[in-house]
Amino acid sequence: MQQVSDDAYDAYLKERGLTRTQYTSMELLAVAAAREVPDGAFVFAGTGLPLLASMLAQFTVAPNMTLIMEAGIVGPRVEHLPISVSDPRGCLHSSMVSNMADTFGTTALRGYCTVGMLGGAECDMYGNLNSTIIGGYWPAGVSESGKGPQVRFAGSGGANNIASFADKVLVTMVQEARRFPERIEYLTSVAGARGPREKHESRWDYGLVRGGELVMISDLCIMRSNPETGLLELDAVFPGVSVEDVVNNTGWKLDTSRAKEFKPPTEEELKAVRMLVDPSRIYLGRKSKREAAAQQK
């Protein structure tokens, strides 16, 4: 790992009111997601926490990974955190910058998309993600009510494609029961198994050739897809979170029988994410809803 002097780190901690061992939700999520990246992986990362976590992985567990950003970036050595998958910051010292058709075609479909990192507004028990709408899909011109959806989100972007082509998909989300329903309202991205195989509703039944392994990293826990059933199951709870908390914030009957405790972020990991990845705290400074609510009390 690149060297950061203790003096510089101490000054940073003091200025930001942080300590070497305590961490925020965003820091925890970044560390948990980074640990899931195998060294040598080809990682397609979306904006925000996914990009943050993949950069952290590159500085810690996966120095030989290749970062890919869908607007056309392959294998950069980033110095300043990009805020967009087209940010010129993301292009620094890349192996190649090209275009979007190339990143999804020449890179992903051709066989260089082993890990995808995504976010979403809703996630269901089979790891399907909704990042498009809540409260009706049809826009006003064709809807019965004469109005559009209750809430419109950004839409697929590249999420659907990354979910289609990656061997393994990592998703980071804030966990609330309404965001983790049994069935999502609109299926933007088939990130996991999609549905039960015995009912011919799996991702393979619909023609997706790759993938199926999903790791959900919420602000409460880590869930993994069961390779047989495709269902998301509890894998680990974060420090200070009980299994009951997780169950209460999940909209389906969650299998918790294999739950372990999560090993908290190390000082080294925290130092790296703070000093090397996001020193301006563009993302790390954000509070999850749960954190903000806790602070109100």
Binding site: F42, T47, A71, G72, E79, H80, P82, I83, S84, S86, D87, P88, R89, C91, L92, V97, S98, N99, M100, A101, F104, G105, G111, Y112, T114, W138, P139, A140, G141, V142, K147, G148, Q150, R152, F153, A154, G155, S156, G157, G158, A159, N160, N161, S164, F165, Y186, L187, T188, V190, R194, S202, W204, D205, Y206, G207, L208, V209, S280, I282, G285
Partner: protein
């Protein structure tokens, strides 16, 4: 033959009420803001347009805030790191003032531009399968697809189907990783072809499913480049995003640029060029005209502007539109906007650091 003209002239000539315009660049990078701002200045004449793009959404946010969008066909309406969903677009989809919105994924749209670029009737897309993205067909539901009784297209800009699925006539032979005897050299390891061959979804017969998407052929594509030669040859620097493809698809291509240069300058190293001269229709020179987006090797995005605008655009629709009226609509042209509203000091502060291509010490407080 490419023609050099002012932004006002280009917009007057090629963009009218209802015109389908494909906006180039991606998020905060190389966005054609000079033409977008000129559309805002001419909003009384243009009224609204059919907006299409691959990747959001700063230009489109500005156009939506000016009530200039009546129809969208796109992939993503976020402002990424600064605002998860561009609020002026979002609220207009929700309240119905953007009545028609067709969703695609980035690669789905890019595949449509590959078809358009090569002059193909369709192109294969291995994504979107199993998702709702192709299933919800807004233009179809609105009766805009297909032909009239006299055999003409109902809307010539909209393909008769959103997508089609076939069984791969080559049985998945070309998909990677391929089943070579000693394995493939690709990084991906999962390959469920044996299961996929059993699938009878979409087509009703067993086989490897391939989605087909039609080309997109925008009436007008607008892109921003660093340099354009007097003959229309285009060279872009930094990331290309969707631009080379969607420029090649267009019927009319407007290229705005930092600098018009003699054609010898770009023809000395033609392998670095992205578009041949015959593709370009109109050339508009406006230094700094990509502001507030970044133009690699020239200047960075204006972080402070985006952050403060991301607060402003949560106010009432009227207040947001007033902002655009005062800051852009009432300016004479882009030089007037850049010098008087933005100021040369700010533009100079954003100039790129040579070794980086962006402003390496740009402060980015939230």
């Amino acid at each position: 033959m490419a023609e050099i003209m002012t932004a006002r002239e280009a917009v007057e000539r090629y963009i009218h009420t209802g015109t389908q315009v494909c906006w180039g660049g991606f998020s905060y990078t190389r966005r054609p803001f000079t033409i977008a701002r000129e559309v805002i200045r001419q909003r009384d004449r243009i009224k609204h347009h059919f907006c299409t793009m691959n990747g959001g959404a700063s230009v489109e946010e500005a156009l939506a805030a000016n009530d200039l969008i009546s129809r969208m066909e796109t992939t993503y309406i976020g402002l990424e790191g600064i605002q998860p969903v561009a609020n002026s677009i979002r609220r207009r989809i929700q309240d119905g003032s953007i009545p028609l919105f067709e969703d695609y994924s980035n690669y789905g749209y890019a595949t449509r531009t590959i078809a358009g670029r090569f002059g193909w009737p369709f192109a294969p897309l291995m994504a979107e399968l199993g998702s709702d993205v192709p299933e919800y067909d807004v233009f179809g539901k609105a009766g805009l697809r297909g032909k009239n009784a006299d055999g003409s297209w109902i809307d010539p800009r909209i393909p008769p189907k959103k997508f089609a699925v076939i069984d791969d006539p080559f049985d998945g032979w070309g998909l990677r990783p391929h089943a070579f005897e000693d394995g493939d050299t690709t990084a991906n390891k999962t390959n469920a072809l044996d299961r996929v061959r059993e699938s009878d979804k979409y087509t009703g017969s067993k086989g490897v499913k391939v989605m087909l998407v039609p080309p997109i052929m925008p009436e007008v594509t607008v892109i921003r480049a660093q340099r354009v030669a007097t003959d229309g040859t285009v060279r872009m620097e930094g990331i290309n995003g969707p631009d080379a493809e969607q420029a090649m698809c267009a019927r009319v291509l407007i290229v705005e640029c930092e600098q018009i240069v003699p054609s010898d300058e770009l023809r000395a190293a033609p392998e670095l060029n992205h578009l041949p001269s015959h593709i370009t229709t109109a050339i508009v020179e406006q230094p700094f005209g990509g502001y507030p987006s970044a133009v690699p090797n020239y200047y960075d995005y204006d972080w402070d502007w985006f952050v403060s605008y991301g607060r402003l655009n949560r106010k009432s629709k009227e207040e947001v539109k007033d902002y655009w009226t005062q800051h852009v609509y009432e300016t004479k042209d882009d030089w007037d906007y850049l010098q008087r509203v933005v100021g040369m000091n700010r533009l100079f502060e954003l100039r790129a650091t040579p070794a980086y291509g962006y402003r390496a010490d740009l402060k980015r407080p939230m």
